[in-house]
């Protein structure tokens, strides 16, 4: 069962955005939600990358349209490249992409699908509360990508295997990991991917595994 990260948690967050007003607005809200959090900021890709290396971060909140260096022009490709590098070098890092350009992430879909940390997308049209939910999900290690980034159900064979082992053979994560010859952590990671594909997210009073089974049967992924 997934549980929200306590607001009293002593977490370390990096917020990346080139607009000073957006940066301060986001920091204020995060600080209000997590009073014990240590929050760093960066306005360029260069600075963000340096801080990701220096700090032991629990979460990065990243805008995609950012400049490489100060006085450079903000470009989506710069944010996309930074994100790609971060995911390659810090596979377990939790990331929230907060941007008005979230649809551009389609070109990173394969990398997002293999990322091991939490990964959520918060379009800048979201309300503060919705954005904080995406932050919480990323801190829990979950994945969320908007529906409009797909033309249909996109499920990888290894995610299907997890569903089959769990719901047809009744195996628990550890046994699934042994059967698939992968780590238990990877199994948990596959759960978040398939749940995102099926549109199953944390909700009060809802058991996510049962909900996943129902949705998987509805979609014909398991008999």
């Amino acid at each position: 069962m997934n549980q929200s990260v306590p607001t009293s948690a002593e977490i370390t967050i990096l917020v990346v955005d080139d607009h000073a007003s957006v940066l301060s607005g986001t920091v204020n809200i995060l600080q209000q939600q997590y009073p014990n959090a240590e929050i760093f900021t960066a306005q360029t890709a260069e600075d963000a990358q340096a801080q990701v290396h220096q700090q032991k971060l629990d979460l990065v909140v990243l805008d995609l349209s950012i400049p490489e260096k100060l006085r450079d022009q903000a470009q989506i490709s710069t944010g996309i490249q930074l994100l790609r590098t971060m995911m390659q070098e810090h596979a377990a890092l939790n990331i929230v992409v907060q941007s008005a350009h979230v649809k551009s992430l389609i070109r990173l879909k394969p990398a997002i699908n293999t990322h091991e940390g939490g990964f959520t997308i918060a379009d800048k049209s979201l309300s503060m509360q919705e954005m904080l939910t995406k932050v919480d999900w990323a801190l829990q290690g979950l994945m969320f990508t908007p529906k409009e980034m797909r033309t249909g159900l996109e499920v990888k064979p290894e995610w299907l295997e997890v569903l089959n082992f769990a719901f047809l053979e009744g195996l628990q994560d550890r046994a699934i990991a042994e059967s698939m010859n992968i780590s238990e952590r990877t199994v948990r990671n596959y759960w978040t991917k398939v749940q995102d594909a099926l549109g199953v997210y944390p909700e009060e009073g809802i058991n996510m595994r049962i909900q996943t089974e129902i949705r998987a049967r509805e979609e014909g992924l398991i008999d």
Binding site: G25, T26, I29, E148, M149, R150, T151
Partner: protein
């Protein structure tokens, strides 16, 4: 009617042959216009959308600090209006600079079709699009999307309630649009219309592509290839 149309097309082909430089110049001009439109969309995303977002966060932060009910009610109202503005700006930006154009052609089509439905054009469109799509460099895709949207609007303009549209992306170079009308008369009004003829010729002239029209009773199939 048909021989007359064939004659017209033949004349246009002869015209095009002898006016290649003019055709190229017009194609170039359209390309420039499309580029400018795209940049305008990006400008909205980078400027107005960011400003609206920042304003919204400030108001939300203020709302969380306010204890007075009248103040929070006022802020809530302002937030709703701001959200509306954000959505509208986002739609304009998406229309001017479709996001998926460079990366996922099927998603670009899906987005454009959703927009047609959302704008209250009365279109019922069923889409058959591939899930996986390899990256390919964009060429005249934005211009092509405009033609596709125009064709669908024309197809439904005479009788929006009765037309059921099936759109299938065959491959990167071909889309089939199948339209079933309630009766033969409506189908004829649309498929024989001057607008459709103009559209087919303009498509050919500007994209070097072709729109084939196949009619069978109350059904018409348009194959757009380029």
């Amino acid at each position: 009617m048909e021989p007359c149309r064939d004659q017209f097309i033949a004349i246009l082909r002869v015209f095009s042959f002898y006016h290649k430089p003019t055709q190229r110049a017009i194609q170039w001009w359209f390309h420039q216009q499309t580029k400018q439109t795209f940049e305008l969309g990006e400008l909205i995303r980078e400027g107005l959308l960011q400003e609206t977002f920042s304003l919204r966060r400030q108001l939300e932060f203020l709302q969380a600090q306010q204890a007075e009910e009248s103040s929070t009610r006022f802020i809530k109202q302002e937030l709703q209006e701001l959200e509306q503005i954000y959505r509208q700006l986002e739609q304009v930006a998406d229309q001017l600079a479709p996001f998926y154009l460079e990366h996922r052609w099927p998603l670009a089509i899906k987005q454009a079709m959703q927009r047609l439905g959302r704008d209250g054009k009365g279109l019922q469109i069923s889409l058959v699009l591939p899930v996986n799509w390899d990256y390919q460099p964009p060429q005249q895709d934005q211009l092509f999307l405009k033609f596709l949207a125009e064709l669908l609007m024309m197809a439904a303009s005479k009788d929006p309630d009765s037309s059921l549209i099936e759109l299938k992306l065959e491959n990167r170079q071909m889309i089939k649009v199948k339209i079933n009308y309630r009766n033969l008369a409506t189908r004829k009004v649309v498929s024989d219309s001057e607008e459709i003829r103009h559209l087919r010729l303009a498509f050919n002239f500007l994209t070097k592509g072709k729109i084939n029209q196949q009619v069978c009773k109350s059904q018409v199939i348009y194959s757009l290839s380029w």
